[in-house]
Symmetry: C2
Subunit: 344 residues, 2 copies
């Protein structure tokens, strides 16, 4: 294994330019840098070897970036994203050589992380390390706070999840089943629909590409929807709104169907918020990371006891990164998209 001080070749996935849409294969290129593994003097940076890189739906360009938002694509720079890494050298008092961490890193074999204070140390290694890009990382926390905090769920309630096979959706569905809810999910292929039912225990699932969503929702929710976990937006949201139940709740986590549109589709059924006194609430996991220890206490036992299943779409080698990222947006990846760089 590479050591601090060594000069190494460092494969990278770089962006050609800023982007303002979903990423395409041609927006990225591979290159190899020669990197000396050393910390800047008097810095609190850490030097890491990346083990897993995560492909997530927010890794895209935005038309009008707001100040302070992370830029995932910048010209001739390695992509920025979540990952799991091993510390090679640390100038930060909270980390030492050999520590495993997860958090924001860069798409290359070795990264210098200047804001190490935003990283999480991994203490539990009896579960696959890749899980810290998903079920035990940001998507897991998103599912946890989105469902438990924003949806205020109760046993027996009727729950619908769009993009249910995504990293977040599959967990929300299983949290809801563990609580004793009736759970239906939508996904974009028959394979995913079958897996939602067979692997994740969803009561029902349907393919939104093949069914009229409003009719499907009427059929699966004859008494209406108490909780909608919103990942897609657009027509699906309009179809859900007319099927919401009295005092229903909508957790707005994402609207992946809209991100690449020049103008977002108009939502016409918001009057149903009044008819049924529905609460619709946007949230961001970044407001909730103080709950991470509680989250781990809840979810780690579920994993160890086999009460939660989890499907990953793991591709091998940094070279596979661009295709995996693009496949996330096109919907061809089945399960949480992760790129494996190194297992140690």
């Amino acid at each position: 294994m590479a050591r601090s001080g060594e000069v190494v070749s460092n494969k990278q996935v770089l962006a050609r330019d800023y982007i303002d849409s979903n990423p395409k294969i041609t927006d990225m290129y591979l290159s190899t840098a020669i990197t000396k593994l050393e910390l800047p003097e008097c810095s609190k940076s850490i030097l890491v070897k990346n083990l897993y890189l995560s492909c997530d739906p927010y890794m895209r360009g935005v038309k009008n970036p707001e100040p302070g938002r992370i830029t995932f694509f910048a010209p001739n720079s390695p992509l920025v994203g979540y990952g799991v890494a091993k510390v090679l050298a640390s100038g930060h008092p909270e980390f030492k050589e050999g520590d495993l961490v997860w958090g924001i890193t860069t798409w290359e074999e070795y990264s210098l992380i200047t804001n190490a204070e935003n990283l999480f140390k991994i203490n539990d290694t009896d579960v696959p390390l890749s899980y810290y890009t998903g079920i035990l990382g940001m998507p897991g926390m998103t599912a946890y706070v989105g469902f438990y905090d924003i949806c205020s769920p109760k046993k027996g309630e009727y729950v619908f999840i769009s993009s249910a096979f995504g990293a977040v959706g599959q967990l929300v569905g299983q949290f809801a089943k563990l609580l004793g809810c009736y759970v239906v999910g939508s996904a974009g292929s028959q394979e995913k629909v079958e897996l939602l039912k067979s692997k994740f225990g969803f009561d029902e699932a349907f393919n939104y590409k093949e069914e009229d969503c409003e009719a499907a929702l009427k059929r699966y929710f004859p008494e209406g929807i108490d909780i909608y976990f919103e990942n897609v937006g657009g027509k699906m949201l309009d179809a859900v709104l007319v099927n919401m139940r009295l005092k229903g709740r909508i957790a707005v986590c994402g609207m992946i169907s809209q991100y690449d549109l020049e103008e977002h589709q108009g939502i016409r059924n918001l009057m149903h918020l009044i008819y049924n006194r529905v609460r619709m609430e946007g949230f961001s996991v970044f407001d909730h990371f103080h709950q991470y220890p509680t989250f781990l206490e809840t979810v780690l036992p579920y994993i160890r006891e086999g009460k939660i299943n989890y499907v990953e779409h793991i591709t091998h080698g940094l070279e596979s990164g661009p295709e995996s990222l693009v496949g996330l947006f096109s919907g061809v990846n089945v399960g949480k998209s992760v790129v494996l760089l190194s297992q140690y």
Copy 2:
């Protein structure tokens, strides 16, 4: 005054047919019935003389009425709406001759009310009785629960109210000012804009017909909106969404700009619910009438001490009812629309 047992002429405003839009003058006609003022035997009905009738924005037809919803317009029947009335005879143990009540009644001089249990008895008569169609009735309760319960307001917050000169809006604004908020309202005429500032103490107000709403909101809320009290929907809502502040709240009370459209305008900026973790919640005053005593304890002193102003658009005689109702929807009425039938 007419007494129980008497045969009286009973002027009425009747609907020609069901309607599925905002009411027009030609949807209504006047007629005079001959009515014997008597209670059906063994009934819990009450017989009332109507004193004030209220024109409210929900008094319109709906394209697809849902079971259980009140029909305000039915063929050759008196319109249904809120009003203030005096009890002439009562078969209900909670009411007796001479009581003043407010609640759902019919647009005629004398009404037989079969579900008297839904009426509220008026005990405080040192304020104008017409107030029980507005500031002390349903619109007042709507403003009260919408603002205090749904918006969770805090002193110093930035509050925007659309249709701010309406019966509900003018109260929300004054509640917000009493709490120490910064308050801006939109209205549809320069007269209303001026009155919002001079009469109700709004910090700012603008005419949505003459200004680009998004630009006006940017100007009046350079730091964004904490609370939006939504009465109009459509483009105003889209303009507000991009101006919401972190952790903002939107109480969805009504969308009067949309009711008469064949298809509601699409709302395109809901992603801002996520960007700023905004909560948007529909509500109905009908869920909150148990709070009516607390409401009175709060608002009656405000009125008596002159801390709240209130503007009514009172027209005289049942004959003036249709024009007043239509004027509510066209926006020509200035203040809460009330029809005075009799002062005693």
